[in-house]
Amino acid sequence: MLSRLKTMKKTTRSNLITFGIVIVFYLVVQILSGAGLTTRSFEGQLVPICAYVVLAISLNLTVGFLGELSLGHAGFMSVGAFSGVLLWTLVGDSLPAFVAIPLAFIVGGIVAGIFGVIVGVPVLRLSGDYLAIVTLAFGEIIKNIINALYLGVDENGVHFSLTDANSMGLSADGETLINGAMGITGIKKASTFTIGFVLILITLIVILNLINSRTGRAIMAIRDNEIAAQSVGINLTRFKLTAFVVSAVFAGFAGVLYGLNYSSLVASRFDYNTSIQILVFVVLGGIGSIRGSIIAAALLTVLPEVLRGLQDYRMLIYAIVLIVVMIFNQSPQIIAWRKRIIGRFSSKKGEPEKKEVA
């Protein structure tokens, strides 16, 4: 087995290790909770961990592989969460769960993907800081619109309003589905750790396969050199948009997973801080490293619970950590120092360390 691992292609091996980590984590948690060794607060964290892992992997596609900084990822999560949960509240009682839950995910993913196209087409004409600022703005626009959205249904059909509940004009026995800033309430909880685990596996399969395909190579070529990519006949707009939309779809899936985990869903949960938090997972785990994203997302979701006393300072600590990581990865002196340290360890093995791609 081990000898077979060695003869495999480097990327294949690296991908298998990533899958292994996820599967082992799932099994260990299942065994521990079966034996009654996990705390309630930890079990409550399991679904959010899965959601954040999926978010981090999907954002890494945009940041690490397309090479564009997006600060509006929570917006796509939000759109996915609201559309998926809405579908769940409408059909959750009439359809069996094994149909309704996947349907909620599909709808959430598709709607987030549509928003990915709407946002991506104008935004991807920009690059660098400008793109980051505009995605941030789009994230906030999505949050604020959903925050003001009232949606209801009665015998005359669907009603909506952006001002208040009364102006929807619902009849007496109509039902309010989205109640402005109060969002959706009375959601029947449907997410489980197993669903989250399956979603992570699907995300990994799709994203890793995508990266190691013709499309993925085109995306990375654009990241490395747009002019050269164009000169070999790559359609920049098309492949930038592909990466951006796939990224949005999975953010939508993660949103559905997250939304179905609580009894109520409010738009303000998906604010700028959430986008930054996802970005921190990606940066801390290593831009372009899928495995790093998974580990960072899981650890950084658990840590605040463990260090509850520091909760108020979380965003402050994140900011400091981001700066430290940037210095650690970019400063020439630190890079030289790191190489000396790594060189000292690896010289015994006789092979210099190489950076993993995925």
Partner: protein
């Protein structure tokens, strides 16, 4: 019919006429040189031929197809490939993947084939790997296939750029100062490589080069630019003795 026919080509940036009234005809399988002092407009001509700049006047016809002002993507598909004066590789990708990106429009499969790993994926990837390794072998790069492009030494990076350009299966290859920064031995080796590429692939090659031994040594036809205008045209011998060319390079009037 000639492979490439450029007639009356010109471009102005605001008030600056960078290139004007350029006529050039490249036959199939020819090795063609474009030379001139610094700032003569040589790279600008390349940028017009490959769609980076849109010419303000004139026509470019490749193999009977008008490609004037088309996008770089469309021109690549039409059959012009290029290298860059300042090397532009996909630095973080492997040497092999750099060449495979070059095959983007040669060996195709869709997004879903890749994601779902349909049977076509295996088949097409296999074909790409085979072709890419064969190309790398020509440039003596097959031993470094799994290195990152940025890890290659300078001379090999230049070769990889040519390999990547050839992967697009061009009819015409544009080389922008392929021998820049190379020592005489490397230059001599490159001359052989360029010649053998022309013979093996049967393509025409247009190159910009400052190394006169290189240009005179391999080009069958040469056009000399100065201040954006053609000042001479002919074979190596006639160019070498042309008083206008000597004046342009050495000064004087």
């Amino acid at each position: 019919m000639a492979l490439l026919e450029v007639s009356n080509l010109g471009i102005a940036f605001g008030g600056l006429q960078a290139v004007s009234q350029l006529d050039m005809t490249i036959e199939k399988g020819h090795l063609y040189g474009l030379i001139g002092p610094n700032g003569a407009g040589k790279t600008t001509v390349f940028n017009m031929l490959t769609g980076v700049y849109r010419p303000t006047e004139g026509n470019i016809v490749l193999d009977g197809q008008d490609i004037t002002g088309k996008t770089p993507e469309a021109i690549s598909k039409a059959g012009i490939a290029r290298t860059f004066q300042n090397i532009r590789l996909f630095d973080e990708m492997s040497v092999l993947d750099n060449v495979k990106v070059g095959m983007h429009n040669q060996v195709q499969y869709g997004l879903w084939t890749g994601i779902l790993r349909l049977p076509a994926y295996r088949e097409k990837e296999h074909e790409m790997n085979r072709k890419a390794h064969a190309l790398l072998k020509i440039f003596d790069l097959d031993g470094e296939a799994n290195l990152k492009a940025s890890q290659l030494p300078y001379g090999k990076q230049r070769k990889l750029e040519i390999a990547r350009a050839l992967a697009t299966n061009p009819k015409l290859l544009l080389l922008d100062e392929p021998a820049a920064g190379m020592n005489p031995n490397e230059t001599a080796e490159l001359m052989n490589t360029v010649r053998s590429v022309r013979d093996q692939f049967g393509i025409a090659i247009l190159l910009i080069e400052h190394d006169m031994n290189f240009v005179m040594g391999i080009c069958e036809e040469i056009t000399v630019l100065d201040y954006g205008r053609v000042i001479a045209h002919g074979d190596g011998k006639s160019i070498r003795n042309n008083p206008k060319v000597i004046a342009a390079y050495l000064g004087g009037d």
